[in-house]
Symmetry: C2
Subunit: 358 residues, 2 copies
């Protein structure tokens, strides 16, 4: 089979693709800040700020879906993607003592996130900025700053920023459970796995993308720690490929959306080898029963029956690290599909790198 | 203009349409249980169980999005749509003392919701079942039971169950703030407004639906208390009309998905007259700048510039009641569109009324 060559260094989408490839290195740079994560997590613990409220938009909000599990499974803290609107628009005046607030913004300039964090600080929360710009407004509004350390991201569609956000939330959560050292080593090992797998993943994603050139809608299904992955892959498909891609949990699929499926409505399913696997397999069976085309991804892709396409990833040292790998085929698929459609993943129409929208 | 006649009492989708029309009455029946809501809310307050964890799937999960605002704005309690997976699959063992857990299930038989509630009770939560079946497994697993009182729902696509769920969460929240009486009167007045508006809303929705017979994808945008509405309308479109409809907050739209829009990708926007209106207007302007067809709904529909279609609703006694009205044009639109497409909204392919999927 003859395939198009990879995009050149200067072509449309070349920044996005280069940044996808830069992810193993970005993870390693994040690990240089391990002691800062340890210090801030200790401060949260000492202060009894053990309810975690995360706020962000787009990829930052997707990463927060991962944080719910990282904080729940490691220090056993309750973590939530908080409503920015409730505090920043409705001025609800919630009591936030006992809370750690994490504001996630690549640029540190997202207006309502900065506003939320300032109000949360007044309401008694321990406020932490997680940002690429430690001199930003968000950093200034927060008591503590954690560097995202992803380096400059030139593509409007985020990749390494997202990966470092989930690694950072995991490292924060692990540090809060005084397991930061072990988790950091797990991130390092996962970065190595990713680096080794990237050439094959890119080639596989490119082949699969060829079949999807005319697809206008998709579901992306993930459960538990992989729901963040489903959300992020769907967002990449929306913003870089103009596919109406909707993220769903395995169970949500069965509660209505499955009725929309047919053979021309493909479903990308992320299966990882953890306690949710039986539910994800059951969802895949429903997808197949509806006749829909199934793309199987994740480190347990081989467990999904009847997949037309498979984009498996390596198994990381522990399940909580799998989202660092399982999002990458989706990024690479979006990159290849955008190119096949003549779209520039670096500069989607109507978007800018720093979103100042309310 | 000549329009198709409404579905007969026995035709496809007739249950769904009849149940939409039954909503004012269902709300009034719920209000007969006001004292039970007052009692359970007092128990939660007395016990200091002021973090609310809501669990449910499909429409029940959509209603929970409303609960975040009802509890945040009335008693100023933190409320979250909790991860069922974290507790029921990963067995994270979170400490749930100080929490009220509300399990939402029309049938009371949703397996993982029942499992979650049983575990939450062991973990110290005050557990409350909100269900149509007060003799169900969910009711049996919970310390307290609140009747949803929506009556039998024969259509697989929920309507009055959803409306009563949001009214019930509002009434619970208001009772927790010792404002139950006032809020109940607001619900009663809103039921009257809805009853008066239904004939016109049905006619308007039917006219708009005629233009959408070939639409395959849509966004539904709402913010704050209307995000629940956006989620529920999108779900109706998915399950009854097979439209790939994705709910988005006004701000999330700007963080990526706006890039997918074009004139053939319509956006349904719910505008209500509260503090979020400027952000929703800004989102509508972006939608129009992308050339997309805009459907304006909500009680501030007239504030949205450049709408091709408008489906306004009356203004309720207080903003927190507006979701009881603003979802109804979406239900009626889905009902009419399903009929225009020859689909049976009562029995979507692949769905059953009681979802036992994991």
């Amino acid at each position: 089979m003859s395939l198009p060559e990879p995009a050149g260094l200067d072509g449309p989408g070349s920044d996005f693709l280069a940044e996808i490839h830069g992810q193993p290195m970005a993870l390693r740079v994040l690990l240089e800040h391990e002691s800062e994560y340890s210090r801030v997590a200790a401060a949260a613990r000492d202060r009894g700020a053990i309810t975690v409220r995360m706020v962000g938009h787009g990829s930052s909000d997707n990463a927060s879906s991962y944080g719910v599990y990282a904080f729940g499974l490691l220090p056993r803290w309750t973590a939530l993607r908080d409503s920015i609107t409730l505090t920043a628009y409705y001025d609800a005046g919630l009591d936030m003592r006992g809370c750690t607030v994490i504001g996630l913004s690549q640029s540190g300039r997202t207006r309502d996130v900065v506003d939320y964090v300032a109000r949360a600080r007044s309401a008694g929360a321990f406020t932490v900025a997680l940002t690429n710009d430690v001199g930003s407004d968000l950093a200034g509004a927060s008591e503590a700053v954690l560097p995202l350390a992803a380096g400059p991201e030139r593509s409007v569609a985020a990749s390494k920023t997202y990966l470092n956000q989930i690694a950072a939330l995991g490292l924060f959560a692990a540090s809060a459970a005084t397991e930061g050292r072990r988790f950091a080593e797990g991130i390092r090992a996962t970065a190595d796995l990713l680096e080794g797998a990237l050439p094959v993943l890119e080639e596989q994603a490119r082949v699969v993308a060829l079949s999807f050139a005319s697809v206008g809608r998709m579901f992306v299904v993930g459960r538990g720690i992989e729901f963040a992955t489903a959300r992020e892959i769907a967002l990449k498909l929306l913003e870089t490929c103009r596919v109406a891609a909707e993220p769903l949990t395995a169970t949500a699929l069965a509660h209505g959306p499955v009725a929309a499926l047919d053979p021309l409505f493909p479903v990308w399913t992320i299966a990882s080898d953890d306690q949710t696997l039986p539910a994800v397999v059951e969802a895949a069976e429903r997808v197949r029963a509806a006749g829909a085309t199934l793309v199987a991804s994740g480190d347990a892709a081989a467990s999904l029956p009847g997949a037309a396409y498979a984009l498996p990833v390596p198994r990381p040292p522990e399940p909580l690290l799998s989202p660092l790998l399982s999002v990458v085929p989706g990024q690479l698929f979006a990159s290849a599909l955008a190119r096949a459609r003549g779209l520039d993943a670096d500069r989607p129409v109507g978007l800018s790198k720093v979103t100042l929208a309310r």
